[in-house]
Each structure stands twice: as C-alpha cells, then as structure tokens.
Symmetry: C2
C-alpha cells in the first residue's frame, strides 16, 4: 500500500514534508511513500537522511499550485504541478490508496473531486477534521467548509460518511451523531436543519442522538457532529479563535502581573502545555475529505515534520481499514432506503 504525498504543499514544503515522510517510514515499517514535486529539492533533503530507499519513491513535478490561485483553474491548467501529478499517480497506481497534502485546501478539494472522483451515490464529498473534546476522545465535525450551501440529503450523507470515519479514527463502534443546531429541541432549526432532523431521525443507518447546540460540540457527548459547511466552518474557526483569545488573555494577565503571578505561571507551565496540546485543533492528523474514491488527507498548511508524518500514518490507517469501501456501502444502503420510502 502506497501513500502519495504532495511534497510541495504547505508553508514548510518541501523540506518538512520530506522529513515527515522519512519519519513515517521509520515509525511504521509498512508505510511506502511516493513523494511528488521538484525532485532536485526533494532529493537534496533525502540525501541528508537515513531511510529505507525501497520505501520512498520520488516523482518529478516542475510546477506548484499556490493558495492564491483559483483552485479549479489551477487543477485544469497546471498539468505539471505536484498536486495534479500526485492525483494522476494516485489514479494510475492500484497500490496507491491514499493521498496527503498540506497545500491549498481549495486546490486539494477541487483536484480530488476532478481527478479522483466521488464515491458513487455520495451527493457531496465533505471535509471532516477531528476536534478535541473535554473527555479526550475527539469528535468528527463534518462538513467544515467544502459545501457552503447544502440540502438535507447532503447532511444525511455527511452523517454516514463521518460515522465510518469516526469508527476508524476514534475506535467507536456506534458513533453518536449530533446535528449542529440552534437549540436541542426537535422543532428547532432553520429550513435545512429542520428537514435534516427528520431525515436523520428516520435513518436506520446511523446512531442519531439529536440536535447538538454549538456550546456542547466539544463536551464529548457526540462522536460526530454534522453541519452544512458554512456553519461548520464558523464553529471550527470560532472554537480556534476563542481558545486562542483565552490563552492570550491569560498570557497578558501574567505579563501584566507581579512576581507572584509570574512565579505562579511558571509553576503551572506543565498544565498550560498539556491544555494547549489537548486543544490543538490540528493535532489529530489532518482533515479527511470524505466521499472521494481514495483516502484524501488534508494536513494543516503550517504542518512541520511531526504533523506530516502523523497525517501519513493516519492516511495509511484509514486506507487499511477500508474507510472508502465502508462509506460506499453505507451510502448505497441509505440511498436504497430513501428510494424505498419515496416509493411508499
């Protein structure tokens, strides 16, 4: 099983991406990586490393897609970019089952959609990060930005896809699915969530536990929270922003305080460090683009070698657990059920 990696994507590419790939092969003896990008630059980094040469292959690509380009146009026009060449390799090589990039989110989504294609039956692929929770188990938020305008059926598909994903990533057998809403009561919501609530309740294919108010999203009471990509994006970024704000306010208070305050802060350092790690919204590998024919992991743009190797191992794990196949089965069954109930 091979993991195709866009070596030119991310703020620290290609060096940190190459180092992360090397680390992944050291950490897991089964990992094989195909690094796609400017081969001279990639090889310069590889030459400084000790690694199993049979398990890292380099594919040359002379061009790079940046964050500033129109994703769709870039995928169409930049045929020699690392991203396009990586997707082509993913499609032409049967042993290649997963893909990792820390590059432009828009371009990764557009490229995956156009070059790899969505799973038959999936109405809309969706982006799903794992967020930290109070209990430490983590929670899958789906969608967080790929689909800013949604229909109720999309949300049912998100629930099915994210449930398969949560089984693999979080190790929960029957992931508890919540619907992000503006109240817990069944009648609450906008046009979309009211209809989605009915669909999710009636579906026997997931373990739907009801509406999830945004303030309860990170309590650990939900393994999966589904949302349209706009509200999901707002939830994800508000959580990031608020955690950041709070830590900054504490820091400000410590700097502005006296010797006692500073001493207290020094003594609490391990706690702060631990909390920061627990609340790291990028810690649990990358976000997975669910509903695509192969495993697509989008690592954070600021990923260094540790985050890259984690994303590669995550991609390997998801592929070995046949997440795409499970999503295909789940969505097919749900669609059949929908068709039946429409006939009734």
């Amino acid at each position: 099983m091979k993991i195709v990696v866009d070596a030119m994507g991310g703020d620290y590419a290609p060096s940190e991406v190459v180092l992360g790939a090397v680390d992944a092969t050291v950490l897991d003896k089964n990992v094989e990586v195909v690094l796609v990008g400017k081969s001279a630059e990639i090889n310069a980094v590889l030459n400084e490393c000790e690694y199993d040469k049979k398990r890292i292959e380099v594919v040359d690509a002379s061009d790079v897609i940046t964050n500033d380009e129109s994703p769709t146009m870039a995928i169409k026009l930049k045929k020699d970019s690392s991203l396009v060449k990586a997707f082509e390799r993913l499609m032409s090589d049967e042993s290649a089952s997963a893909f990792v990039s820390a590059g432009s989110t828009g371009a990764v989504l557009a490229g995956a959609f156009m070059k790899v294609g969505r799973i038959r039956g999936v109405s809309r692929p969706a982006l799903a990060p794992v967020l930290p929770t109070l209990t430490g188990n983590g929670m899958v938020l789906c969608d967080c930005g790929a689909n800013v305008d949604c229909k109720p059926l999309n949300l049912l598909h998100f629930a099915i896809m994210a449930s398969s994903y949560a089984q693999a990533m979080l190790g929960v057998e029957k992931p508890r699915v919540g619907l992000l809403n503006n109240g817990v009561e069944a009648h609450k919501g906008n046009e979309l969530t009211k209809e989605a609530y009915e669909l999710l309740s009636a579906s026997g294919d997931i373990n739907f536990v009801g509406n999830c108010e945004a303030r309860d999203m990170l309590t650990g009471d939900f393994d999966v929270v589904v949302s349209d990509g706009f509200a999901g994006n707002v939830a994800l970024k508000t959580a990031e922003g608020t955690a950041n704000l709070l830590l900054k306010l504490i820091k400000k208070g410590v700097y502005g305080g006296g010797l006692k305050t500073k001493l207290g802060a020094a003594m609490l350092k391990p706690v702060f460090k631990d909390v920061k790690t627990k609340l790291d919204f990028n810690a649990v590998g990358g976000a997975c683009f669910l509903g695509i024919n192969k495993v697509i992991v989008k690592a954070h743009g600021a990923s260094k070698r540790g985050a890259i190797s984690a994303s590669i191992l995550q991609a390997q794990d998801l592929a070995s657990k046949n997440v795409c196949e499970k999503i295909r089965e789940g969505v097919t069954a749900a669609n059949a059920r929908q068709a039946e109930s429409a006939e009734e």
Copy 2:
C-alpha cells in the same frame, strides 16, 4: 422615563429581578421601574428593601410564561402573564421607553414583535449581544438567533441597526462592520453572504470593512459582525462552549497536579478571575432586540441582581440615546438608497 421589567422572567425570578431593579434605582437617580408580575411576591421582596418608593411601581400579573411553551401561542393565550402585561404597559404608557426580561428568549422576541411591533422599514428585527474582545472594547454580534433563515437585505438592515447600537453601547463613532464568512476574500461565502457582501459594500450607510472569519470575530478588529441568526447562534455558542472547555481543562489539570501545581494555581487566581470576567459572555448587560419600536433588552436567564440592574441601566442608556429613532432613520435612508439603485 420608565423601564418596564418582567419581574417573573429568569431562573431567579422574582427575588433577584426585584433586587436588581432596586439596585438600578439606587445606582441611577433617574431610573424609574415598573415591575410586572405576581404583586404579593414582588412586594414581599420590596418590603425588605430600602428604596425610593416613587420610582418603583408594581403592576400585578397572575400568570407566567415558561421556557417550555410555544412562544407565539403563549403570547396569544396567556393574557394575564407578566410578559404580556408588561408589553401592554410599554405600549399604553408614553413615558415607558424600554423593557427588560430575563425570561424565555422565544417569548420575549415573539411578544416584542407582536405587541410592540417592528420599526417601519426594518425587514427583520434581530438579537444582538455584545461579546468580549481581546482589546476589551467589545463587539456587537447581530443576529444571534432571531432569524435562522435570512435574505441579503436582512443582513444590510442588521448592519445598520447594530451600527446604531454599537455607537450607543461601545461609544464608537463609525463602527467597523464585518460580515461573518468562511474566508476573508471578497468572493468567499455561501449564496447568502456572497450577495450580502455586494449589498454591504455598495451601501454608503455603514462602515463596512469586509468579511470576518469566525476566528477573528473576537480580536477587536470589528465593532459589529453581521450574520444570519443560525450561523451567529453557532458562533456565539461555540465561543461560550470553547471558553468553558478551556477553563475546565485547566481546572482538571490543576486538580490532577501536585502541590506545586496547586500552589501555582492559587498564585494565578487573580489572573483567572480577571480572564473569566473579561470572557463573560453575559457581562455586558443583556442582548438587545434591535428593530422594535421601543428598547427591548433580553437579560440572560441565569441573571442575578447584578446582571438585572446592569440590564436596566443599559436599557435606560439606550432609550436616552434614542437608539430606536436612529435605527429608524438609518433604515429609512438605506431603503431609499436601495429603491433608487433598483430604479437605475
């Protein structure tokens, strides 16, 4: 100028509401309060207090609307409820210019809409709390839940109303207005925000500074952030939930730590207390229901006397600054401009 107060609304009604009203009259010699609710219970609390009897009036109402009732039905049917009687007094008494309740949000919104009415020209009244920011100046989020499905024109009206409100509440002359969106770039957004961006950019009636990503909402770079009520509700509650989660994680770390950790936490207590105060999402009085003919302040359900008196003083301040009149002028001007540009 009189402030009509629903004495039976809130988790600690009527005692804390009555005490808060008394405090408000002590803090501001111009405040006059009309307490509406079960007069025997209200008077029992008042009899224990020292206050200027000329400035607190009690109006009897035998019934109470709870959180569990359908708001519209309750307003229609419970004619003897404190809420309905309070709104009736607000309308029949010209010297009554503002209203405060810590009761059911749904019932307060429905009652204000049905009994007090919206300002002519306002497409949709909207709920606007003031949220804490890193700079300490605060920010008005509008709408946060009154309108879960919106049209672009609604968002323009929210921007105008919230700007008038921010001028009065935050003391900024030209409030910087941001549009809550899934990216800062002008082309980003869902159907609603893309169109709203055009409207807000073209409007000369507000100081529109562009899209606001949810993670930047609390930085202090925006005085007003407009959103449909669904996404605004998600943003508000995610911020609350995340702040809560982070403080809980720190607490957990302190409890689980050794003597040194606990000592450090004790030394940092003033900092934590200060941060908690700064990040109190209910500190800045209540949320204002903008676009109604009189000032409507919805205090938090868990308000104790301090929060109630703050809400009463806030209502008094907004009424004395003629916020409703300013909203009327702003919306009228914007509508005229819209009509002109439609003709062109």
